[in-house]
Subunit: 259 residues, 2 copies
DNA sequence: CGATTATTATGAAAGCAATTGAAAGAAAAT
DNA sequence: ATTTTCTTTCAATTGCTTTCATAATAATCG
């Protein structure tokens, strides 16, 4: 067992990655014995690797992320905070009036809203998200418009200058925006500049801009800011949002609603 | 059969998902026996998956969902002239050079071309067809651009003025166009004015325009013409095309190639 | 058709393993 | 020597699964 005398953390993680990709799965206990470190250490390793999307964490171990082909479908479907998003989705959908042109961005919360809009009529849904188009395929009474642009595989969204050009031509009654983080400063942020760039022009075109963020987003700040708190009309979140972060945002005059 | 000793919850759910997608339905009792866990555990699994919209819960089990994915898959299976289209697709794909921007319209023959382009690199595929985007999801080396516009459910294509606007902004090396009919006069036709209107502007933007039509299209004339024979550089068809119709088109100077 | 019976579902409680967070110790880097 | 990073221990927490009792649903029979 001590055939590998000492390994740097990085080397060990590399080895773990090889193992999980070779056999498809690893167990914390096995790894702990194999490398001669505590199980807590292995867990932090797995967590680190999971954060980089190099494997998928499970109870007691981890499994490989699978073949790159199905990667997107699985990753996007493995939603978290499902219940919270569902409640936020229902509340958000209720804000759209008949006849409205509704914008849904490429976020899982917007997808939740789409699910509640499916049964509606006389709605136009504008989006840059492939997932939302697919979700609305069997909603025959909803007119669906896609922005077009360059397809970004990681997010299943369309981005880039052509997306921008499309969005500068439409008028929208109400727009829903997910975010990676929300904080008093700098406001709403996301993880990719392209995604943020796709959201920014739409905001200006919406009579009403609604941010939809579950509790985990509060206080977080992503690399790419796309909207200040003052640009958002309504913020919908769930009631487990941290109170101090919410207060800081409300102090700037935001209308925060809990579901 | 149950040689798998212990499965992580995640793995088990993944397996259940595969089973339900493969056979269309699963029963709680079967799953419970197969995985060697209690029926209550299976129920929580099914509930979790149902919350993520990955399947639909029923009494005693679950049935597969994905009206989007499944429906489209069925539509694709209804294709006719599969073998001919495959041959045409291979020949068409061979015309695209590395580095090209390729346009594929929303026709089943273009979809056949997309399948042959998947393994290529350094290609940009521009399309207004949702099915082609989906086909190229797992072709990571191909950049995919979608025109955007209004979604037309019958053809799974994007059409309308926004589509038009997008297409006026791009330059394309080679474009492939399916058609409902081809004849010396009025040339290439389709069944819907919207579809025809989406094809017309692209034609002018392509250095090379290729019509891909199986034998059944010759001599047929649809309601909406979109290109004269003189606007087309190459016509690819299969060798069972009616000779007289082909001759009439060739007499106008067309380059007709058989596969 | 209604009543009975069998099957399936749901909720609560409990056991166990895995996880997380905090605090402190060890190793490496500056 | 000091800071930083990594690792461990320990306690508290969470998550998964089971059992059992009860409710709801489907199927069967009179």
């Amino acid at each position: 067992m001590s055939s590998l005398p000492i390994l740097y953390a990085e080397e060990r993680r590399q080895s773990i990655l090889e193992l999980v990709n070779r056999s498809g799965r690893v167990a914390v206990g096995d790894l702990s014995k194999r490398f001669g470190v505590s199980s807590v250490t292995i867990r932090t390793d797995l967590q680190t690797l999971a954060e980089q999307n190099l494997l998928v964490r499970t109870h007691g171990g981890a499994v490989s992320t699978g073949p790159a082909a199905a990667e997107m479908a699985i990753a996007l479907r493995r939603e978290r905070k499902v219940r919270e998003k569902q409640r936020i989705g229902r509340a958000g959908a209720a804000l759209a009036a008949n006849g409205d042109a509704v914008y849904l961005d490429s976020s899982s919360t917007s997808l939740a809203i789409a699910r509640f809009l499916k049964s509606r009529r006389l709605l136009t849904v504008i989006t840059n998200s492939l997932m939302i188009v697919q979700e609305l395929l069997d909603a025959p009474h909803i007119q669906v418009m896609l922005t077009g642009g360059s397809f970004q595989r990681e997010t299943a969204a369309f981005v880039g200058p052509y997306t921008h050009a499309f969005l500068n031509q439409v008028h929208i009654q109400i727009g829903f925006f997910g975010a990676h983080g929300i904080a008093a400063e700098p406001g709403l942020t996301d993880i990719s500049p392209e995604i943020a760039a796709a959201k920014r022009p739409v905001l200006k075109r919406c009579r009403q801009a609604v941010a939809v963020v579950d509790a985990s987003k509060w206080g977080r700040v992503g690399i790419a800011p796309f909207a200040g708190i003052d640009e958002i009309d309504i913020i919908i979140t769930d009631d487990s949002a941290p109170a101090d972060a919410v207060r800081a945002v409300e102090a700037m005059g935001a209308d925060v609603r809990f579901v």
